[in-house]
Amino acid sequence: MRGQTTHLDTDVLAEFHAGLATGRRGARIAAHLAGCDRCRALHDELAGVSALLAAVPAQAMPGRVAQRLDTALAAEVARRNDSERARSDSPRHRGTVGQPARNRGWRLVSLRVLAPAAAVVLAAAGYGLSQLSHGSSTLASPSSGVFGAARQANSASAAALTPGSGAAPRAEPERMGPDSFPFLTSHTNFMPGTLKQQVEAALRAAESARATQAAPTAVIACVRNVAGSGTPLMVESARYQDQAATIIVMRTSKGEVALVAGAGCSASHSKPLATTTVP
């Protein structure tokens, strides 16, 4: 039965191809294949199955699936922040008793979205899974990203925009409404290489001046889009690389984060031109 003239079974060839036939058995099969065109062809066909499967291109995730996952992820983020908030609740937060718990949870989300680790993402393109598909042809919806979806998922709390206490309340954000933040206009031309230093200087100037103007509606819309329901430390209408820009500084657990929003920044569009952190 094992003579060289007996052709090999497909299962045996498949095991050999998969590396399961070793030692003397493997050597015997290899010897047979060397002298038998028919079995070699069958073996090559089996190998061809692997080659065929490897050559089938993977389909990009459909846009509707990406959006659905965005929403699910945003809900997870909100859920985790709610539980973190519950854990970290301390007496200093009691000044905000009237505030719905979910709103504070969301405010944490909006602040932490701007944490330094996220700076690259923000500067790169946008906020969501849907938008940041690298080269895949999925549907991009400006409001369907992690950020937008989180806001949708929290629409109930977002509708009641009340000030909350941040992770490190230093500038008394409790007294400030979401549309009330230190705002000033300047002729400063922020530049990429010196952004950090310029933001530090602007923050010092804003702190000593303490004279704030009412921000234009367009700026408020932009700030709401960028900052969610969080309250910026400072918003400055200035220039960035000689173009009109809005500098928005938020406090996060890791320091102050400044975002540079271009002239097109609005309630529905906010693609930061640059970000930096000020420790």
Binding site: H17, R40, A47, V49, A55, V56, D70, A115, A118
Partner: protein, 203 residues
């Protein structure tokens, strides 16, 4: 302002940031691999709706269990393992409605469609997707991970939570079972027509 590590953090770094509380990190990690994660879910499930459910289950599970990741494998291996498990779990739960198997050749032919026509790229994908349905889920998962995604047998063993030997035998059996359903895609109709491996790959 930012160093290279921040511009393109490693998967492990993103997972670490996620565990540390960074709300963007997990999304970035998932986004980075989502097309291949989708591919493994879709091909293991053989059904877009099931695949989307499985992927969502897996994403939520990975999000919550990220702290359990101990770095014994690559982050991708860990992610794929969760996705494959989620897809197989769903298949098990709907086991009352078994996947195509023996006796379903006609249904397969209907799904595969143009069995005798020259295959175009899209057709090949559709045909392969249809052909994969004839496999039992466990064999299919092994073949998807090894042959379609190109993981080593060792990594596949971790992803599938089986021994390397079992990975090999499942792949071997799956290839045998798949052979009659895909040989037409390679342009040769029977085993007696000799075809070299080099020719086999590019039809």
């Amino acid at each position: 302002m930012r160093d290279a590590g921040e511009q393109w953090p490693s998967d492990a770094e993103l997972l670490r940031r996620h565990v540390a509380g960074d709300v963007q990190a997990f999304g970035e990690l998932f986004r980075r691999h989502r097309d291949r994660l989708w591919a493994v879910a879709l091909r293991t499930s053989c059904d877009p709706e099931e695949a989307a459910d499985a992927l969502q289950d897996a994403m939520v599970s990975a999000f919550r269990r990220a702290a359990d990741f101990r770095g014994e494998s690559a982050v991708t291996t860990w992610l794929y393992r969760i996705v494959v498990n989620a897809a197989l779990d769903r298949l098990r739960r709907r086991a009352a409605r078994p996947a195509l198997s023996a006796g379903d050749e006609q249904a397969f032919e209907a799904l595969a469609g143009s069995a005798g026509d020259p295959a175009h790229t899209t057709d090949i994908r559709l045909d392969v997707d249809a052909a994969l349905r004839v496999l039992p889920p466990q064999q299919r998962a092994a073949l998807v991970v090894v042959d379609m995604l190109g993981f080593s047998v060792a990594d596949a063993a971790v992803i599938l939570d089986i021994s390397p030997g079992t990975v090999k035998s499942r792949c071997a059996r799956a290839r045998v079972r798949l052979l009659p359903h895909v040989s037409h895609l390679r342009g040769n109709r029977s085993a007696s027509e000799s075809v070299s491996p080099a020719q086999g790959g590019d039809t």
